[in-house]
């Protein structure tokens, strides 16, 4: 699905490895028989099908891509402790993602609270960036791939909802990392068009508020 950050994670991993792939877009309101067959358990995207074998769950797919094409670009560090830290932060981000969605589905005081909570979670995540260009060190790594969608989606959410979350004052390291990540050509090329994303999120926000 073109606007899904979870799908972007997988595309980024494939592109960093230089793996050619066929992208099949899904209409989530009208899921294809293929999707339901390949992911009967959660029925969600993304699903990677490699040699006819399906893998679901974006964080797991990214690790799979790293291991299946282990000669190419190293997504995970070689050191087990660095790998453990990367997996820890990926889990942390997944656990806290609800805080980001909450900004989108609330207004007024509830939204201020949601934005503040999201900021707190991002501040914790930011500690993993200290002294580094990327979460992965000098180059994009696993955590960058897992949370990199923030760089493109969060500014859109901020604009649509009229809130500020990632600012130079509150999250300077993260803000600077946004810029570096979006400057990586191979990642930039896979991102959905910002105007299209903005329009889609504006429409969804209106839907959510009128519900």
């Amino acid at each position: 699905m073109w606007a899904s950050p979870m799908v972007i994670r997988v595309e980024w991993a494939l592109r960093l490895k230089g793996v050619e792939y066929e992208y099949v877009d899904e209409d989530l309101a009208n899921k294809s028989a293929d999707l339901l067959r390949y992911n009967p358990v959660t029925k969600k995207v993304p699903v990677l099908v490699h040699d006819g074998k399906p893998i679901a769950e974006s964080t797991i797919i990214v690790e799979y891509i790293d291991e299946a094409w282990n000669g190419g670009y190293p997504i995970m560090a070689a050191d087990p402790y660095e790998r453990a830290q990367a997996r820890f932060w990926a889990r942390y981000a997944e656990d806290k993602v609800r805080a980001l969605y909450a900004i989108f589905s609330t207004t007024s005081e509830a939204q201020r609270k949601a934005a503040h909570e999201a900021q707190q979670c991002l501040k914790t995540l930011e500690t993993a960036l200290e002294g580094k260009k990327f979460f992965g060190g000098d180059a994009v790594g696993y955590v960058d791939i897992i949370v990199g969608w923030y760089a493109h989606w969060l500014p859109v959410v901020e604009e649509v909802c009229g809130v500020s979350v990632v600012t130079d004052e509150e999250l300077p390291l993260l803000k600077a990392w946004f810029g570096r990540l979006l400057a990586v050509d191979v990642l930039k090329a896979a991102l959905p068009d910002r105007d299209r994303l903005l329009a889609a999120n504006k429409a969804r926000r209106e839907q959510v508020l009128s519900a």
Partner: protein
Amino acid sequence: MATDVPAVKLIGWYGSPYVHRAEVALRLKGVPYEFIRDDPINKSELLLQHNPIHKKVPVLLHGDRTICESLVILEYVDETFDGPPLLPVDPYERAMARFWAHFIDQKFARPFWMSFWMCEDDEHKEAFVKEAKGNLAILEEQLKGRRFFGGDAVGFLDVAACGLAHWLGVIEEVSGVTLVNGDEFPAFCKWAKAYVNDDTVKQSLPDRDELLAFFSGNKEIYMALARATLHK
């Protein structure tokens, strides 16, 4: 004994399936470790210092390294120490093991929990039971023709699923709700028995009677929590 082998310590709470996951991993790899028993009601400075974000166990201390989150610890132990591999070698099989562990911790957990602790007369209970049984059927399918999820020996997914092998029976007894039976889930029942009887696993399973007393004591709390989180 080598003087520069870093010490391994595990901070845990007695009776936690997540702590058990970490302990079994260390034992399967033959790694000597010191168990530091923490108290969830009165968390130690050591725990809060080493896991300030979640303030939970298990926490693995390996020399000056700290690793939190049970499944992260499992993979760290697998990659760091020699011994039989916990995760399969093949990338696809590894992805499947990780997927099912994720399923157990995420999609599987809530309907299970709610099935046990919702009031008998609550209209939502039936829906949770149906969902929980549907999830069990999915796991049953994964076990067809296998002694363990990992094949012939206990592996990553078996350890990840430990709660379903040892804790489940206790919870069923305390709550009075039986989800698992040998007719509907024969492979699953065989697996649970094989898991808890494995020589290595046995060494770090909490005593069943103690678990029974613990869950019985907290029954009202679990039921109140189930009611409170119904619409979350």
